[in-house]
Amino acid sequence: MSNLEKYNEAFIESLDVKEAQLEGLEYQAVPAWDSVGHMGLIAAIEDAFDITMETDDIVDFSSYEKGKEILKKYDVEI
């Protein structure tokens, strides 16, 4: 599975969204991406890429696109 596929799957599974909804998706834009959903999403991403994110990055992870930028810091290219 490519990094993009893993990344998308984390969003789709955690937030119960479709792939077509991912581009431009932001925190709190869908009901499932609330503070509870956010923690689940981060857990899924950490598991998918075997990384441990810093607290600031978890807090800053505010959109599908922003998440891709943040993951570069962990040597994960999407």
């Binding site: 509870v36 923690m39 689940g40 981060i42 857990a43 807090v59």
Partner: protein
């Protein structure tokens, strides 16, 4: 009337959103502690005096001499409200508030020196879980604890650092206390009478520590009546 509202430990200003909808006739002014909510990028602060200084500056900016206002605090926010009241009285820059509204806390704040140093984190975590308020989906989520536990720890330490004993018999302004006997027994809640010597009233609700979330309508009616 302006109601300055202070959050529970680990909380942020969104805690008051629902209650705000029920009392639109009053202006609820909320405040995020450093490192919490909208101020999440700032360092946490354990020094309650620093936080009180910020709060009173905001109150002095918001209130003109003739403005009536009250202070409200939920759980640890009650201690912040009381500490703020003390500072306002000492500063003598504006009139004291009309009343305090305290939720879900007695004057007892515990002492961190009574808890074994190595067990403090575990104590705090157990206490947070006992009090409820953590969604079930997050209780076993390591990300949640990694991100949020430092805020809880900071706030517990901040509260533990405050000396409530020096405030016995100090206050004469009216006090209204909202509590749940399922959380704090009445005899402990009534200890506020040792600190506030004026007219105090007490309101009990079912629902444990976060009883507010199950009683917005009733509580808003009481607040409306009290502040009329």
């Amino acid at each position: 009337m302006k109601i300055f509202c202070f959050n529970p430990a680990g909380g942020n200003v969104t805690f008051w959103d629902e209650l705000r909808r029920y009392i639109p006739e009053h202006e609820m002014i909320t405040y995020d502690y450093p490192g919490h909510g909208s101020r999440k990028r700032e360092p946490l602060c354990e020094d309650i005096d620093v936080i009180i200084s910020e709060i009173v500056d905001e109150i002095y900016r918001s209130c003109r001499d003739s403005d009536e206002y009250v202070l409200a605090g939920y759980s640890m926010g009650s201690i912040v409200a009381v500490a703020t009241l003390k500072r306002i009285i000492d500063d003598k820059r504006i009139e004291a508030p009309q009343r305090l509204l305290l939720f879900a806390h007695s004057p007892r704040i515990g002492r961190k020196d009574l808890i074994d140093e190595k067990e403090k984190d575990q104590y705090i975590k157990c206490r947070i879980l006992e009090l409820g308020g953590i969604p079930d989906d997050l209780i076993n989520n390591p990300i949640f604890w990694r991100v949020c536990f430092p805020l809880y720890r900071n706030d517990f330490y901040m509260m533990w650092n405050y000396n409530m004993e020096k405030l016995r018999g100090v206050f004469k302004i009216p006090l209204s206390v909202f509590y749940s006997q399922q959380d704090i027994p009445l005899e402990e809640i009534l200890e506020w009478n040792d600190f506030f010597l004026g007219e105090n009233d007490y309101y009990n609700y079912p629902g444990g520590h976060f009883f507010l979330k199950k009683n917005y309508l009733d509580i808003s009616k009481v607040i409306g009546m009290i502040l009329r």
